[in-house]
């Protein structure tokens, strides 16, 4: 799977970090970073939860 962040929509709520800290990371300025754009399949459930919990619908998963 590949994670796509629409940075135009992202508003750094950080809900994705709460759902899947293995993949999403907020820095000291609360800017969002994706630690791994192609996470292991075992993280799929958590990544998909992060997608659903984004208030700005800024995240998607392809594949």
């Amino acid at each position: 799977m590949k994670i796509v962040v629409d940075h135009g929509r992202c508003d750094a709520h950080g809900n994705c970090v709460g759902a899947c800290p293995e993949v999403f990371y907020l820095d000291d300025n609360d800017d969002l970073h994706v630690l791994n754009e192609h996470p292991h399949e075992e993280l799929r459930e958590k990544v998909e939860a992060a997608v659903r919990l984004c208030p700005k619908a800024a995240l998607s998963v392809t594949d």
Partner: protein
């Protein structure tokens, strides 16, 4: 035939539908909603949509095709009027009855009205239609009174200010947001609005709305008279349970559920603003939070799909509010009387994390523009958390450092 009916085309209802299909439910799935619009997202209604920065179409939770792809039968613009558990049927406006095997109740809540104030120019804000109607009236120089300093009220006040309105915010308690967040944080909120030029009036209530065809002033119980063009009332909501009154389900400011979101009736669950459920750590609670609508919609779907479900629904509550350039995020379940200690950042700069503390334990955390920290603390709140352990988790091991100070609640 196996039919699941979801009543309430809300975030909780749509999420329940999504979760049912995702978890393999292949029977008939029906979504009933009283509004004619496709289900939409509420946070923009007091913020981006109201400010004209987001379109109504962009507020829809899912596109039309999604409901077709998920094979969901949509009954929009249709109000459920009764639930008959003996025959396991929903009664709709007009008398039509639809039977179900399993039921998800997600009819949400509706705004409380100001007594004696059903007059042109007095608005409440709950629906997409409400927001669009209000937006059409806001603009530069419009005099707006916002009655109620809860999350909706403070957000509307901020948005109206951004649109150039002349705003008065009226709260019956000593400060806005204090009913949920206490007076310490409430005073910061009041200060934030005053800095922007909003006239914040606390410890007062509205005596009456004075009108001449439409609203032209409101009188407060301290006898002050505020000339206004429109009034927005945000004094809380009540769960939409009237259609359930004859059902026999236990209703107590919401539909009472166990820790799995199940009512006492087999195969009947509730989720979202309407559900008062037994949280394993917090007791019988009901939340009106966006994220709770999603997580509880999922939990209720799981419980109705697998009646022997083994996972209790025990989230650490989370809510956020955007006002001006501040994002306030709260995790946990604060009590207004909990002590507030600053754990990180500077209050004066509007960027900090604070803990709510009761008998040495952290009950909740609030952040102003500190998203990273609030999400770092949240998982720790799923178990009892001592203040020193919470500080340690932030890398602040010495509790006596000067940045831990109690905020004074002095009113300007």
């Amino acid at each position: 035939m196996d039919r699941v009916i979801v009543v309430g085309a809300s975030l909780a209802g749509v999420t329940a539908c999504d979760a049912l299909r995702r978890n393999g439910f292949e029977g008939e799935l029906m979504l009933i909603g009283s509004e004619t619009s496709l289900p939409y997202d509420r946070p923009p209604l007091s913020k981006a949509l109201l400010a004209g920065k987001q379109s109504a179409a962009d507020c829809l939770l899912r596109p039309t095709e999604w409901y077709e792809q998920m094979d969901i039968t949509m009954l929009l613009g249709t109000r459920a009027t009764a639930l008959d558990l003996a025959t396991r049927a929903i009664e709709l406006e007009g008398g039509r009855r639809i039977r179900f095997e399993r039921l998800v109740i997600a009819t949400g809540a509706q705004p409380r009205a100001l007594p004696n104030a059903t007059v042109n120019g007095v608005h409440t804000l709950r629906t997409l239609e409400d927001s669009c109607g209000l937006m059409a009236r806001l603009g530069a120089g419009v005099r707006v009174a916002v009655v109620g300093g809860g999350f909706i009220g403070v957000e509307v006040a901020a948005t109206a200010w951004e649109l150039g309105c002349d705003v008065t915010l009226i709260e019956s308690l000593p400060s806005p947001l204090s009913r949920t967040l206490g007076d310490t944080i409430g005073q910061l909120c009041a200060g934030l609005h005053r800095e922007h030029g909003v006239d914040v009036r606390c410890n007062v209530t509205v005596r009456d709305v004075i009108r001449n065809g439409t609203v032209n002033a409101i009188r407060l119980d301290d006898d002050s008279l505020i000339p206004v063009d429109l009034v927005v009332v945000g004094i809380g909501v009540q769960p939409c349970t009237s259609w359930l009154e004859t059902s026999g389900l236990e209703l107590r400011d919401g539909v009472v559920c166990d820790s799995y979101c199940r009512t006492a009736a087999p195969g009947v669950v509730a989720a979202g603003d309407i559900a008062r459920w037994r949280h394993p750590n917090l007791g019988l609670v009901r939340f009106e939070h966006w994220e709770n609508a999603i997580l509880q919609g999922e939990a209720a779907a799981a419980a109705v799909l697998s009646p022997g479900a083994s996972v209790e629904y025990a989230p650490v509550p989370y809510v956020w509010s955007d006002q001006y350039d501040r994002r306030i995020q709260v995790v946990g379940h604060p009590a207004p009387r909990d002590e507030v200690v600053i754990a990180d950042g500077e209050v004066e700069r509007g960027q900090f994390l604070a803990f709510y503390v009761r008998t040495g334990r952290v009950t909740a955390a609030v952040a102003f523009n500190r998203a990273r920290l609030i999400h770092a603390i949240r998982p720790l709140l799923s178990k009892p958390l001592l203040l020193n352990k919470a500080l340690e988790a932030l890398g602040r091991e010495d509790e006596s450092r000067p940045f831990i100070a109690q905020v004074t609640g002095d009113s300007p």
